[in-house]
Amino acid sequence: MPQLNSHGGVDDLQLAQQAAGGNHRAFHLLVDRHGQRLYRLAVSLIGNPVDAEDVLQETFVGAFKALAKFEARSSVKTWLTRILLLQAAKWRRDRLGKQAGAIELADDVPEGGDGHAQVDRGVDIQAALQKLGEEHRQVLLLREMQQMSYQEIAEVLDVPRGTVESRLHRARADLREKLKAYGK
């Protein structure tokens, strides 16, 4: 068994295998490697840092419990990202279930002159992202934020590569329209 070191000398797959064999430290190293990247994705998917942190925790707990089933058919990065998307979708379903009727996701684009023009650019982008459909938001963030290739995105979303291309195109067009509403 290769020795762990703190300089990334062991690749993700080896760490996952060691963690599956009972080496908890190996799993904590995986968390350190992917935590920041996945947290950023979670915040953009969820829209707020508090719930994003919960989703991130459940992602890694879920990954730990599923370690024995990980067969390395995809990379650890792809596998963890897929779990995060599932957790985020679950969170969104739960949230919508609790607040059915109280949430207007699509029609509250701010209008000029109402004071919203001064809000932070990042917040506007975040708000616009939240108004995208789930599929569009996912594909866009995987490409733009996670810098994933079309093939990697196809693996994460379990769709054909052609679907990724068309979905990404529509997502960008959709976001562009929504950003226009913010005067970006």
Binding site: H24, F27, H28, V31, D32, G35, Q36, Y39, R40, V43, S44, P49, A52, E53, L56, Q57, F60, V61, F64, K65, R121, G122, I125, Q126, L129, L140, L141, R143, E144, M145, S149, Y150, E165, S166, L168, H169, R172, L175, R176, L179, K184
Partner: protein, 159 residues
């Protein structure tokens, strides 16, 4: 160098922007972009989208990272606890099965019953011990014609 006169479709421009086009096709699109302002505008728009999304800042703080590791450690500990419980349950089952097997072996003398089992043993043996005085009294096995030993002697009471 061959330059396409018709514009590539937007999917292809996006694929070029994302670095997903094959090298030869990318070269053709690149050459077209030099000449076509509309396609350059499309490329610029893609750049704006990327810039907008990259402006979203989110960083896992140290305290959040600590909470994350702690939550995972709890899951690991629960996992170990569950494993320990399963091992204990399995060990108990093996012990129980072994005990039953040992007791049921023919020709083996039964060990002396521990004191705390006396009462239950007595109760269990009643049905096969009805001819003992106590058993007969309890079950009402009184011979016909003989005074019922269970009844008090009323003659003596009247005196």
């Amino acid at each position: 160098m061959k330059i396409v006169k018709t514009c590539p479709d937007k999917l292809e421009i996006a694929a070029y922007y994302d670095g997903e086009l094959a090298a030869d096709r990318a070269q053709v699109v690149r050459a077209h972009l030099v000449e076509c302002q509309a396609c350059r505008a499309e490329l610029d728009a893609l750049g704006l989208i990327s810039g907008s999304i990259s402006s979203v800042k989110a960083s896992l703080s140290q305290i959040s990272a600590y909470r994350l590791h702690r939550r995972i450690q709890e899951a690991m500990d629960q996992n170990l606890l569950g494993l320990a419980r399963r091992v204990c349950a399995a060990a108990a089952m093996v012990l129980l099965a072994s005990s039953i097997w040992l007791v049921s072996q023919p020709g083996r003398e039964s060990p002396a019953a521990p004191p705390w089992t006396d009462a239950s043993m007595a109760t269990l043996s009643i049905s096969s011990d009805v001819h003992s005085p106590a058993g007969a009294w309890y079950l009402g096995d009184v011979r016909a014609g003989e005074p019922d030993a269970r009844l008090p002697d009323v003659k003596n009471v009247n005196d």
